[in-house]
Amino acid sequence: MAHVVLIGNLRQYTGGVTELDIAAASVRQLFARLTEKFPELGPHLEDGLAVAIDGQIYQDALLEPIPENSEVHILPQIAGG
């Protein structure tokens, strides 16, 4: 199980839920599980969001493995100047 924390405005798509445990072995699986649970969140997941797995931020990393017992934050993407 990964401990998932939803950052920022995402809770408006989850009925206020900001933290939950989900079994997922990759970012893609995580997104699929989250979409099942919160259909409104689905469309926002693949674009415009980043995933931090145990502190390391990934953008555009659907295939990134999620280790057992890791902490996953879902947060807005970062660009820069």
């Binding site: 408006q12 931020i57 953008q59 947060l75 820069g80 100047g81």
Partner: protein, 769 residues
């Protein structure tokens, strides 16, 4: 003064960390380097843009009939030449872009939304004719009331820019359109409880003005569409793949038809990450069936490109008597300009990032106003929110009688700290930076009369992203390196150094170029301090792929197993008992046999670079304030920042110094000034006051190196963080020099003088805006 502070015993580098002359240097000191406006095609036309004189106006009609028949006019485009795009955020590269807005920013459709908004474009045989043609285009405007300021634009009776814009991020969604595009919120812990535990609470409101990236080279493009519909574009940009994507989308063409070559780029700082002229030049060229060159003048650059947001920021911080921060709260209102998409989101995430906090709440508003749409500017969003937070931290330290460095050390984020925006930090160098500041000669030097010293910390995330590098082993053993992230300040030097390091060759043997979009795989743009990190990572991977192939060739030639071959000190060597005796081969030897042993050798890396690590900076500023005129002079300045690993330290220092200089301009004199009609009053370098050489002292640097474990050489991006701390550091210095704390940027002389007089009138001590 240049210094370096290293954390760990590091890998012994041979090339990385030295200061060779950049490979593109000779062309740049002899005037031969070709920048955006230096390219010329035979038969090219001159393209010019007609711009709105009004800040807000409905466009009832555009009559180009007179201009169209002017001899020498070859093409005119207006809104009718571009298909409208739906309102939908789609990824373009890694950026989220709403093409509904992009198409309207390139050419106004229903309304002109800012002074300078493009209305039409003309291609003619000369600049004179093109200008005359612009005068002949008649536009029927219905002038509307305008709004320039975020706070004003949020009021219920403010003129609304987009009649269909409903604030996102609010439940239930509002029923009425407004200028607030989005409300965002970041919450951690329990803010109420935090403030209850506080011994001291300081709450302040700040205002900042929009500032422009100020690159010296105006936007420029040459586009040529050939008879078969394929197009060549030569352009000054931070991301030519992004230019290609936007143009293809706006024009409805296949991406493969457009080949974009990035010229040398004369500064960008985030401002050259969007398209302005490029789609117009392509559309004009297609109509005219000739190449079209378009160059903005300085006025156009100021009126219609960039800048970054002006903002209103409210910050409240609570701390214990010992300086430990127990709660931080902020509300950020950022001007987006005419279309949504201010950097308020990263502003929210950066606000408290330097600190280890349990209870944080940040709310942000993205607000449209009748100004040019903001573009990214160095650490977009961060400098504004961190200026406000750092200023309040400084004030609390002062109230508690704490040294401002000690106050920050007490709260500094370190490895394992949960960042104020959620995830835990990996290894970071903030504590090392603060310690270096504390021990620096600058921090411990005496001050003169009317002088004060300030310090502030700053943070930026840094990013990776899609990156391709190709490394070719030439017949003579030299190497050609193709990268795709435009070189804004020494990238080619760093990449050739990393290739040389990995391959064990002399750096002069590696010739790097920035390839065009048809010659190399996709590259996201130069931005987010990613180019040395990402293209560096891809370069090392490409070099390793080349080494692997060299080993394969040697094993075949020597007829020994691949695992009996090793790469050491720049040579393929037989290794182990079964390897036999063979003469070691360097890349030159391998190059000679390449064709006969399987073909040319190319190392290639096409990756989405992950593992970018944040860079923290600490700046020390000394300011002298003339008590009679309010004029501030920066008398001494030191930048301390974590680079992970400085590949070419001179260019790392250059980033530190350049960011600091821009921050000094932002703090003291740079601002957009509008008249009552919403027209920009200072669209030139005379009255948009960027620092000149005589305004600045030498800028000392201390490079901290806490390696980024996710980069093969430990590299962190360094370009953006240096613009984050200056405003707060200078505000703190001005406070100590003048006795007055200011909450508004720029801290220009009339404001400072008025502030000092007000304090005198009040009998001292009271803070003022």
């Amino acid at each position: 003064m240049q210094e370096r502070v290293k954390k760990d015993p590091e890998r012994e580098f041979r090339v990385v960390g030295t200061r060779p002359i950049r490979p593109d240097g000779a062309d740049k000191v002899t005037g031969r380097a070709k920048f955006g406006a230096d390219f010329k095609m035979a038969g090219q036309l001159v393209g010019k843009v007609l711009r709105s004189p009004h800040a807000h106006a409905r466009i009832k009609g555009i009559d180009v009939s007179k201009a169209a028949v002017l001899p020498g006019v070859k093409a005119i485009v207006t809104r009718d030449d571009f298909k409208d795009q739906g309102s939908e955020f789609v990824p373009a590269g890694e950026m989220l872009v709403n093409y509904r807005d992009v198409v309207r920013n390139v050419l106004a459709r229903e309304k002109a939304l800012f002074e300078g908004h493009p209305i039409a474009a003309v291609a003619a045989t000369s600049e004179k004719i093109a200008r005359e043609a612009l005068r002949l285009i008649k536009v029927d405007y219905e002038v509307l009331p305008h709004v320039l300021d975020a706070v004003e634009a949020m009021k219920p009776d403010a003129p609304v820019l987009h009649e269909d814009m409903i604030t996102a991020g609010v439940t239930p969604p509002p029923t009425k359109a407004s200028n607030v595009a989005k409300r965002i919120e970041f919450v951690m812990g329990d803010i109420q409880k935090g403030f209850k535990d506080a011994d001291v609470i300081v709450e302040r409101e700040f205002n900042t003005k929009p500032v422009h990236q100020g690159y010296i080279e105006p936007h420029a493009v040459v586009a040529s569409v050939s008879e078969d519909g394929s197009a060549e574009v030569w352009v000054t940009t931070q991301g030519h793949w992004i230019v290609r994507a936007h143009c293809a989308r706006l024009l409805g063409w296949d991406i493969s038809k457009i080949r974009v070559t990035a010229s040398e780029i004369g500064g960008g700082f985030g401002g050259k990450t969007v398209v302005y002229l490029e789609p117009l030049a392509l559309a004009l060229s297609k109509k005219a069936r000739k190449p079209v060159k378009m160059v903005m003048n300085r006025e156009e650059v100021f009126r219609a490109s960039g800048p970054t947001s002006g903002a209103n920021i409210w910050v409240k911080i609570g701390a214990k008597k010992d300086g430990r921060i127990v709660a931080g709260e902020a509300i950020l209102k950022y001007q987006a300009g005419a279309f949504q998409g201010s950097p308020v989101q990263p502003g929210c995430m950066c606000a408290f990032a330097p600190y280890d906090l349990e209870n944080v709440k940040v709310v942000g508003y993205d607000v449209v106003t009748n100004r040019p749409k903001v573009a990214a500017y160095r650490a977009p969003g961060g400098p504004i929110s961190e200026y406000a937070v750092e200023s309040v931290v400084d004030e609390i330290a002062e109230q508690l009688g704490l040294d401002p460095i000690e106050m920050r050390l007490k709260n500094a984020a370190k490895e394992g700290t949960k960042a104020a925006y959620g995830p835990k930090f990996g290894p970071i160098g903030l504590v090392e930076g603060l310690e270096a500041a504390k021990g620096s000669p600058h921090w411990n030097a005496p001050l003169g009369k009317n002088q004060g010293r300030g310090i502030a910390a700053g943070f930026w995330f840094n990013i990776g992203g899609e990156t391709t590098v190709s490394l070719q082993l030439n017949e003579d053993g030299t190497l050609s390196l193709m990268a795709g992230t435009p070189d804004v300040g020494g990238l080619r030097a760093s990449l050739s150094m990393m290739a040389a390091e990995e391959l064990g060759v002399d750096v002069a043997k590696v010739r790097p170029i920035i390839a065009d979009t048809s010659s190399l795989g996709y590259n996201f743009l130069t931005g987010g301090s990613r180019s040395t990190f990402s293209s560096g990572m891809a370069t090392v991977e490409a070099a390793r792929a080349m080494i692997k192939e060299a080993c394969v060739r040697a094993s075949k030639l020597w007829e020994i197993p691949l695992d009996a071959v090793t790469w050491e000190d720049g040579k393929v060597r037989p290794a182990g008992d079964n390897a036999g005796k063979h003469e070691a081969m360097d890349l030159g030897d391998i190059a000679k046999i390449a064709g006969k042993t399987g073909g040319p050798i190319v190392g290639y890396s096409a990756i989405t670079a992950h593992g970018a690590a944040p860079s923290f900076g600490v700046h020390i500023a000394d300011a002298e304030v003339d008590p009679e005129t309010g004029k501030t002079t920066i008398t001494r300045y030191t930048v301390i920042q974590d680079a992970g690993k400085a590949v070419h330290p001179a260019y790392v220092e250059g980033q530190f110094q350049g960011g600091a200089a821009q921050g000094i301009g932002w703090a003291l004199n740079e601002e957009y000034i509008y008249d009552d009609n919403g027209r920009l009053e200072n669209p030139g370098f005379l009255d948009y006051r960027m620092p000149v050489a005589s305004d600045l002292p030498m800028i000392d640097t201390i490079i901290v190196e806490v390696p980024n474990p996710r980069h093969p050489y430990g590299v962190r991006g360094v370009g953006e963080t240096p613009i984050v701390p200056p405003m707060a550091a200078i505000a703190a210095a001005v406070k100590r020099a003048s006795g007055v704390r200011f909450f508004e940027l720029p801290m220009s002389p009339p404001k400072i003088l008025a502030g000092m007089k007000a304090v005198k009138a009040n009998g001292g001590a009271k803070a003022t805006t």
